[in-house]
């Protein structure tokens, strides 16, 4: 399982002067589950696009298991880091659900049998079983997004990067994504997810990295990043802690609850 490191990473998009990443240093150990949060335009997507070589640093380095990503081919990077885009329509191109999910798995060189199983697992995890022959554009927006996720899951990369996986998902869809993240955790895969959904972040991730203007400003477990002591810093980038954390503070629950269920548990213990 690879270990990811970003050292002094700077990215300036060639057209214009915007410094999308302004010296980011980050180490993510194999098997970690990291949520990346921050205001729109803070550099989250730019950062993760460096992890699989879609973007190359203006300066600084991306290390994958100690190897400089610049020395790896796009194929080598793609086999290690699977990236699911925010907008599935930038990713989907096949005429059928099955074709879409098989494409990546074939390209990372999974054998016929392994591929068949990986595709089946991915379809099951995303609830797309039985839809194999459907044209992706006949699916609703939420399921098309799950299809994009399935096509990357089927590549069975040791690192999974999800760019806003819960947007447009209903309660059941969010639960599905949560399970996919939990299962990836159980199998030791590294998961990095960008999200504005603080409840999803607080419940599903052991580490939260907060970005502002291309820099990392907070990094720690949800109970620390969302604790009252961090609210001013969160506020500086227009983020809010999950409401449960605010309620926990007002009730004087001691530690920072990240969800209603935790509020109930802590409250019962303290009351």
């Amino acid at each position: 399982m690879p270990d990811l490191a970003v050292e002094g990473l700077v990215h300036v998009y060639s057209e214009g002067e915007v410094r999308a990443l302004d010296t980011v240093d980050l180490h993510i150990a194999a098997g970690e589950h990291v949520a990346l949060v921050g205001q729109n335009g803070s550099g989250k997507t730019t950062l993760v696009r460096h992890l699989n070589g879609l973007l190359r640093p203006t300066s600084g380095r991306v290390l994958i298991d100690g190897a400089d990503a610049a020395s790896l081919t796009v194929a080598q990077l793609a086999a290690r880091v699977g990236l699911v885009f925010q907008d599935p329509d930038r990713q989907i191109f096949s005429g059928s659900v099955r074709g879409e999910v098989e494409f990546g798995a074939r390209n990372v060189g999974l054998g016929t049998e392994a591929r068949r199983e990986a595709v089946q697992r991915a379809l099951r995890a995303t609830g797309l079983e039985g839809q194999e022959a459907t044209n992706p554009y006949d699916l609703g927006g939420a399921r098309r997004k799950l299809l994009a996720l399935a096509s990357v899951l089927a590549m069975e990369t040791p690192v999974l990067v999800l760019d806003e996986p819960t947007t447009g998902q209903d309660a059941a869809g969010v639960e599905r994504v949560r399970e996919i993240v939990a299962n990836a955790a159980a199998s030791g895969r590294t998961v990095i997810a960008i999200s504005h959904d603080m409840r999803f972040v607080a419940e599903g991730f052991e580490r939260v990295v907060v970005m502002r203007d291309g820099r990392v400003i907070l990094d720690g477990p949800p109970s620390v990043v969302f604790a009252a002591a961090s609210w001013a810093e969160l506020g500086s980038t227009y983020l809010e802690p999950p409401r449960a954390a605010v309620v926990g503070d007002r009730l004087g629950l001691g530690s920072t609850p990240t969800d209603a269920d935790v509020v109930a548990g802590l409250g019962a213990a303290s009351g």
Binding site: Y13, E15, G16, V18, G38, Q39, N40, G41, T45, Q86, D87, D89, R90, G140, G141, A142, R143, E164, T167, G168, Q169, D170, A171, A172, G173, V174, H196, M198, R199, Y238, L239, E240, P242, R243, A244, V246, V247, R250, L251, A260, D261, V263, A264, G265, L266, G267, A268, G271
Partner: protein, 271 residues
């Protein structure tokens, strides 16, 4: 200004099953109607029908009657309808013109096509950009913005048209909490000026903050409709695939932990 639907049904071209059935809805002057429901319950279809794109642009068969300000619009062509009602799509990439070189031009594109005087176009464009606090992006290339920034640009383009009626399909899907609040404020201001607005959302917290009434769709039918407060506290929401607002979940959790009503109210106050 009002929008009325009575007995509306709709079936997509080539489909045997109706996507909407027997929908009765009324939006009065200055009202924001929130529509929620699980994925593929008919939310996007409802937006297409209310805005008139279905069936005028995408085909299919419609039944029942859609009225704007009391007038039946059945035989109105799209160009007439679109001067009275605007629609914001779920995916901002679909909405942007792809021909504008700057955010300013992109937002001015709609008003320019209304053949308004030049000064009026400029005023409206700056007003819309300022309302969503993206005036700082005016010179940027809209195609090179983050997903959330693009969503704000797309909404600014609609605000600049100053529509009397507006349909927004998950307008905040890709937005951070600050962007979400700006859009919520813009919706409230439009409504205060007398506009009627229909907004679909999975984020029930946002519906609680902006809507006067809420309807929940299930299988293309209206399952629950009524005042926002009562619908969002309805115990059928989980069964209908809708996430309960965090205030509802937290209230239950705090009560279960044994806190009394004054403590509950204090913990939940305007958070």
């Amino acid at each position: 200004m009002s929008i009325g639907l009575s007995g509306v049904g709709y079936r997509y071209a080539g489909e045997t099953k109706a996507a909407l059935l027997d929908v009765d809805l009324d939006l009065r002057d200055g009202e924001v109607l929130g529509v929620t429901g699980r994925s593929e319950s008919g939310k996007t279809t409802l937006c297409l029908v209310v805005s008139g794109l279905a069936p005028r642009t995408i085909g299919g068969r419609i039944r029942g009657a859609v009225r704007l300000d009391g007038e039946a619009v059945d035989d109105w062509p799209m160009h007439r309808l679109s001067q009275r009602i605007g629609i914001g799509f779920q995916n901002p990439a679909t909405q942007l013109s792809q021909v504008a070189e700057s955010v300013f031009e992109e937002v001015a594109f709609g008003p320019m096509n209304l053949a308004l005087p030049r000064d009026e176009v400029v005023t409206r464009t700056w007003d819309a950009l300022a309302a969503l606090r993206i005036d700082g992006l005016a010179e940027r290339d809209p195609r090179r913005l983050s997903g959330g920034q693009q969503q704000l640009v797309a909404i600014a383009g609609l605000l600049a048209l100053r529509p009397q009626h507006l349909v927004l399909d998950e307008p905040t899907a890709q937005l951070d909490p600050a962007g979400t609040r700006l859009v919520a404020d813009a919706i409230s201001r439009l409504a205060a000026d007398g506009g009627s607005i229909l907004v679909t959302e999975q984020k029930t917290d946002l519906l609680a903050a902006t809507c006067t009434r809420v309807a929940v769709l299930d299988g293309g039918r209206v399952a629950i409709a009524g005042p926002a407060e009562s619908v969002l506290a309805d115990d059928r929401l989980p069964r209908l695939g809708v996430t309960e607002p965090s205030s509802v979940r937290l209230r239950r959790a705090i009560a279960a932990a044994g806190f009394d009503e004054p403590r509950i109210a204090a913990a939940l106050a305007d958070a």
